[in-house]
């Protein structure tokens, strides 16, 4: 068994009196697509945030590629997220002032790539995801499905080793949701990126290699999804 790319060990996290994670442990292998499923409030999103270094757990450890995330400073974790991770959220959350093309260029530019250098990869990904025609439009001028594909392109553009997707199809109808999910997983596999997917939809979880079901802040069951 190859060493995990990302691993959570016995994570606990509370928000006030609400315990969101309660000894959660998980492993993600390179290139693996893992679905975190479970009822609302079971701690899926909190675990995703801890895994990606957005949140620091109250106790437990998160290891990424041999490094202990919980010991990194906020600045170091931000740099790590820029370089190694990609994110897709439920409503896309594209920057409304920027065009779709510029939204996809944004992570590259934040990593220091000049605008001219960011243009090509962004355009290529938009084409790959079938939304070239909206490149010059602002997010408010495109449909939900198109916007979510742009968000997927933005998550992929830096060639991340892990993509974190939190309910990426939650705001889409089933047809659009499945299309977006298919594109996300296919593009991730092409690039060898692992995907950590939070969803409560079984048909979306079915795109994953593996599924971890959450209940009361801990993964209680693991099974092959495909």
């Amino acid at each position: 068994m190859s060493p995990p790319l990302l691993a959570a060990e016995d994570l606990s996290k509370s928000f006030g009196v609400t315990r969101a994670l309660n000894g959660a442990s998980l492993r993600v292998s390179p290139g693996e697509v893992l679905a975190l499923t479970g009822p609302s409030g079971s701690g899926k999103s909190t675990l995703l945030h801890c895994l990606s270094g957005i949140l620091a757990p109250d106790s437990g450890r998160v290891r990424y590629d041999g490094r202990e995330l919980t010991t990194l400073t906020d600045r170091e974790r931000s740099a790590l997220r820029r370089r190694e991770f990609g994110f897709v959220f439920q409503f896309g959350q594209l920057v409304p002032e920027l065009t779709c093309q510029e939204n996809v260029e944004l992570p590259l530019r934040l990593s220091g790539v000049r605008r001219a250098g960011a243009r090509g990869p962004a355009a290529e990904l938009l084409a790959r995801l079938g939304v070239s025609e909206v490149a010059g439009k602002r997010p408010g001028q495109v449909s939900g499905g198109q916007g979510q594909r742009v968000a997927v392109a933005r998550a992929l553009v830096t060639g991340p080793r892990v993509i974190f997707a939190d309910e990426p199809t939650g705001a889409l109808d089933s047809r659009n949701g499945e299309q977006v999910m298919g594109l996300l997983v296919a593009a991730a596999r092409e690039r060898g990126s692992a995907v950590v997917l939070v969803t409560h939809e079984t048909r979306i979880a079915a795109f994953a290699d593996r599924e971890a079901v959450f209940r009361d802040g801990a993964a209680v069951e693991r099974q092959g999804a495909r």
Partner: protein, 751 residues
């Protein structure tokens, strides 16, 4: 539901919003209340001024009489100074038992008694005040009431005399007052109009900002109401009701704030402007306008804001994409303003209303032009760093919010630059050449009085080290020529007290000028004139104006310039020249030396002018006004900065989820901070540029209209630019704690 029912529902939703609802309502009421309090103070300014002028008119000397009688009073107006305070008052001597009593006192003080204003009493009883108390050799027997004073801080007195006569210059009167209140100087009216506009507009901007506090939570509330069946029109009425309650509470808070402020505002103003609290009563029509227009305006602002928001049952959608602004109608106010001002460049006489209207229209032009200008500028910007891109694109999408605050800056700065320009020119006009440090410190003029014994009295005054006399004569072409030209006569050392002389030996003479004064009567070279002293029929000598006389600029003086300065032998005078000025060198170690001189002069002749060199009152007044204008500028910038901060924080709250996403994929804080800075700085810079151009043009027009030298006050412009830059940085810094808080990931949670 009826329209009234919708409004009532809005009110209910507003007050039933729990702790956060009350917090929002409190913020709106406090913001609107602060603005309303300011507006009420401004609305009360005309009443305060009228009351003040009326009291001054009521205590002016009334009907005069030729003969003494039971109802006559001899009164001599006099003025002295104590340190930096002007001390004004009257010497009174009743000639009968029915002599008129001045307002604010019960009876005319008897000889050896005086009544004083509370401010003068405080000076006399304060540290070092004994020397002032000695000035009149009179016992303080009472205090002048408010009816007899222009304001609570006026330093004023009435002193009784047993020896005052008409020969001392006293007037014989049978009453006080009865005349009309003095007409305000039209130039002051213009300054007040500009001042009002630059004060009112930022306050209005602040009020429109305040009613939008927490608009995001209100919009969420409205979406919930939509979900249970309200249509779009009902939603707007509910929003209007919600705003209305905040505005009405704000009116109440503003009223209370005004009542509190009017007790303290007097102490914040210069003595010559400070009102009694009871003077501060808003003009009824202005009060009505505030009471009606603030709630109505608040509702209109809310409805206008909702035009760009679509409130749906499942949430709120903001319409993106800026509509292109049209410029044609925006050019109308400044064009009309310029058209009104342009003719004044050539002929400014009697056109104060036109001037004021032109100024106001030009300043309004700044407000209406700015949104177009900001949009045009940001449309042309692009490229740059990620932070620049985020900031500029935000402005390209929606510059309305930023412009709302910046328009406050623009109009205020334009007005301040204009006012500062006028004041700077006035100060410059009153500052001429600077006298040397070893100049005598003071001069007493006889002003036509017999100065016998003055020199000895002054020499014997504590703190006086040296007294030097100087003479004065009139040059006339013949004995009947009344338009005399003045000449200051003295030896070279004495003449150097009046002007810097290039070189001087006995027999020299000079032509004189003075900065800020026009020399209307000059004698051509070769003119032969008689030199007249006190005897208007017999000249002391005759003098021929030499060609090529050196021209010297005299030190600025309230007494104004003389046409010539000459040594006695230059004029051929051999004695008999009347002394009219006693120049005094004071002991620098005695800080009260000048006060002792004033005491001496009160005894010798209370009406004799005493001028302290370096105490250039006109210049000081303008310099004081400049300081007030600068202080107002700082206050305005604070006000505007608060508006901008509110707007920026509102924008950040609206974008909390997006900010959290940007943080999630590793956007550095400094990038987002810089984006906020650009969002604030770019419109502020455009506004500043527009205001500098308009303000400088306005200043140039006003200076030309007042025949002043057209010279822009670059230090002031640089100072205001620096202040605006500091404000931009402060607003950005003030918004950072919230920005960093919003970068936390709770906003990412979708469940």
């Amino acid at each position: 539901m009826s329209a009234a029912g919708d409004l009532a529902l809005g009110v209910r939703l507003s007050v039933a919003g729990g702790r956060s609802g009350w917090l929002r309502l409190t913020l709106i009421a406090a913001g609107v209340g602060f603005g309303v309090a300011m507006l009420l103070l401004m609305a009360a300014a005309p009443t305060a001024s009228t009351n003040r002028q009326q009291r001054l008119a009521d205590r002016a000397m009334g009907v005069t009489a030729e003969r003494a009688g039971p109802g006559t009073l001899l009164a001599l107006t006099t003025q002295t100074r104590f340190r930096d305070e002007a001390v004004r008052g009257r010497i009174l001597r009743p000639e009968g038992d029915r002599a008129p009593v001045p307002p604010g006192v019960d009876r005319v003080p008897a000889a050896g008694e005086m009544v004083v204003s509370p401010a003068l009493a405080a000076l006399i009883n304060g540290p070092g005040g004994a020397v002032l108390g000695d000035r009149w050799s009179a016992r303080v027997v009472g205090v002048i009431g408010p009816r007899g004073l222009s304001g609570p801080d006026e330093v004023y007195f009435y002193v009784g005399s047993g020896t005052l006569t008409r020969d001392d210059g006293a007037a014989r009167i049978t009453s006080f007052g009865g005349g009309a209140a003095p007409v305000t100087d039209p130039a002051i009216v213009v300054l007040v109009v500009i001042g009002s506009v630059i004060m009112v507009l930022p306050v209005l901007v602040f009020v429109t900002t305040a009613v939008r506090f927490g608009s995001e939570s209100r919009e969420r509330q409205l979406a919930a109401v939509r979900l249970v069946g309200a249509d779009a029109a009902m939603t707007r009425r509910i929003a209007a009701g919600d705003t209305l309650i905040g505005a009405v509470l704000g009116l109440g808070a503003g009223g209370l704030g005004f009542l509190g402020l009017r007790r303290v505002v007097g102490g914040l103003l210069p003595v010559d402007f400070s009102p009694y609290p009871s003077d501060l009563r808003p003009v009824p029509i202005l009060l009505l306008l505030i009471v009606v227009l603030v709630p109505v305006g608040a509702v209109l602002v809310t409805l206008a804001a909702l035009r760009r928001v679509v409130i749906e049952p499942l949430g709120v959608v903001r319409q993106s994409g800026a509509r292109r602004r049209r410029i044609w109608w925006r050019l109308i106010p400044p064009a009309v303003g310029a058209a009104l001002l342009y003719p004044l460049l050539d002929d400014p006489a009697g056109s104060e209303a036109q001037l004021a209207a032109g100024v106001v229209l030009l300043l309004i032009g700044v407000v209406v032009l700015l949104p177009w200008l900001v949009q045009a500028v940001v449309r042309g910007l692009g490229g740059g760093s990620v932070a620049w891109q985020l900031g500029i694109r935000r402005l390209q999408l929606d510059s309305d919010t930023a412009v709302r605050s910046v328009s406050g800056i623009a109009v205020s700065v334009a007005g301040i630059i204009a006012i500062q320009g006028i004041l700077a020119a006035s100060v410059a006009a009153n500052n001429g050449v600077q006298p040397p440090d070893d100049r005598f410190q003071a001069v007493v003029y006889t002003n036509g009085a017999d100065g016998t014994g003055w020199e000895a009295a002054l020499v014997g005054t504590p703190g006086v080290r040296q007294v030097r006399t100087s003479g004065y004569a009139e040059l006339r072409q013949d004995g009947d020529d009344q338009a005399g030209v003045t000449v200051r006569v003295g030896d070279c050392d004495t003449l150097r007290q009046y002007a810097p002389l290039p070189s001087c030996t006995d027999g020299d003479s000079f032509a004189g000028t003075m900065s800020g004064w026009y020399q209307t009567t000059v004698l051509p070279p070769g003119a032969s004139v008689g030199v007249y002293g006190t005897d208007e029929k017999k000249p002391l000598s005759r003098w021929e104006v030499a060609a090529g006389l050196p021209v010297v600029e005299q030190y600025t003086s309230d007494a104004g310039p003389v046409a010539f300065l000459a040594t006695p032998s230059a004029l051929g005078i051999r004695g008999g020249l009347p002394v009219d000025a006693y120049l005094l060198r004071l002991d620098p170690a005695d800080p009260d030396a000048i006060e002792h001189v004033r005491n001496t002069m009160i005894r010798l002749d209370p009406a004799a002018p005493l001028q302290l060199f370096g105490d250039d009152r006109v210049g000081n007044q303008f310099a004081g006004a400049r300081q007030v204008a600068q202080a107002c500028a700082v206050l305005l910038l604070l006000f505007i900065g608060a508006s901008m901060l509110v707007n920026v924080t509102e924008q950040l709250r609206e974008r909390r989820r997006l900010l959290a996403v940007l943080a999630a994929f590793g956007t550095p804080r400094r990038t987002l901070s810089a984006a906020v800075l650009y969002q604030v700085a770019v419109p502020a810079t455009v506004g500043l540029l527009l205001s500098v151009i308009v303000g400088s043009s306005l200043s140039a027009v006003l200076l030309a209209a007042t025949h002043g030298p057209v010279d822009l006050d670059w230090p002031v412009i640089a100072g205001i630019t620096a202040a605006v830059a500091a404000m931009v940085v402060a607003v950005t810094a003030g918004s950072l704690p919230l920005l960093f808080r919003l970068l936390r990931t709770q906003e990412l949670r979708s469940e």
